[in-house]
Amino acid sequence: MNEDLQKKISDAIANPQNMGELANADAVGTVGNSDCGEMLRMWVKFKDENGKKVIDRATFQSFGCETAIAVASLATELIRGKTAEEALSLKTEELAGELGPLPPMKIHCAQLVEGALRSALEPQEAKPAQPTPTSAPTLLDSFSKPKEGMKITFLDETK
């Protein structure tokens, strides 16, 4: 990877924007699954502006890959004030914004962001956000999900 791109990614990672769950979101989209380390979830909240429904705020949660976090950070800033249609019309390379053209092996990371956005904004403009049901698999599950068949045995009982 060239140094310039790496620096831009590092800068975006050092101060990522719009990270974390958005309370009362109007739409939420998820792509990937946390098991393979590639998961991105995006929350979108709309507001009315001059009679148009535009994106007031978008946030994201991602796991692992620096490029996906960097792109999501930039993309969530970029789509503010846009309608769902305008946001959906953005091309993958536009979402990556100031990161500039990504090398082929990294385009996949930006596509992850595009997919999450699409999942949040399609098919209808503002499907009501699921209030993150506790039964749905989330990133956190990978940290603390109960280990099936893993019985806890105290060592002082085995002596």
């Binding site: 990877m1 990672i13 890959c65 976090i69 990133l139 940290f143 068949g149 019985k151």
Partner: protein, 171 residues
């Protein structure tokens, strides 16, 4: 790659974070491949740069760890330290460090949303194996003061709170 992973257990995390290699089957590698082969088929990466990144990540991993004794002293002095337990609920209910919080969605929301990315946070796992991933997750989200308990709660039970019951997991 088998040797690389054995020498640098955090190599997979380092490779994925920067180069998007080894995250899932699409970008994975085989243990029998050499690092040079992996670099070559991933856009001809400079192997020296990649190796340097793995090594510096390894050094950084080592810096993330805090010993049980140091943590015990630190929590006495700094009450703002947040102890985040990433084990399962069953393990947490069996034994936990006083003042620690089991990581849950609510806890995560609080951590991410309390407006401070400098408040110290220490990740606690069972034996210091999974905690680094969780610490990397928090750091990847911009938290700047994240440590991981070396040896996990098992080391804590041996070095600090010897009355705490140790346990093993198994079927």
């Amino acid at each position: 790659m088998r040797d690389v992973l054995e020498l640098y257990p955090g190599a997979q995390r380092a490779l994925f974070r920067r180069y998007h290699i080894g995250g899932c089957s699409n970008c994975g590698f085989s243990p029998d491949e050499t690092l040079a082969q992996v670099c070559q088929r991933n856009g001809n990466l400079d192997i020296n740069e990649v190796l340097g990144h793995i090594q510096s990540s390894h050094e950084q991993d080592a810096k993330i760890f805090i010993s049980p004794k140091d943590l015990a002293a630190a929590v006495q002095q700094d009450k703002s330290i947040r102890l985040v337990d990433v084990r399962s609920r069953e393990e947490y209910e069996a034994v936990h460090i006083d003042g620690s919080t089991l990581l849950s969605q609510d806890a995560m929301r609080q951590i991410m949303g309390d407006g401070s990315n400098t408040r110290p946070l220490v990740v606690i796992d069972h034996q210091g194996k999974q905690g680094l991933d969780a610490a990397a997750y928090f750091m990847g989200h911009g938290l700047q003061n994240v440590r991981c308990l070396r040896g996990g709660i098992d080391a804590w039970a041996q070095e600090v709170d010897t009355k705490m019951r140790r346990y093993k997991l198994g079927s």
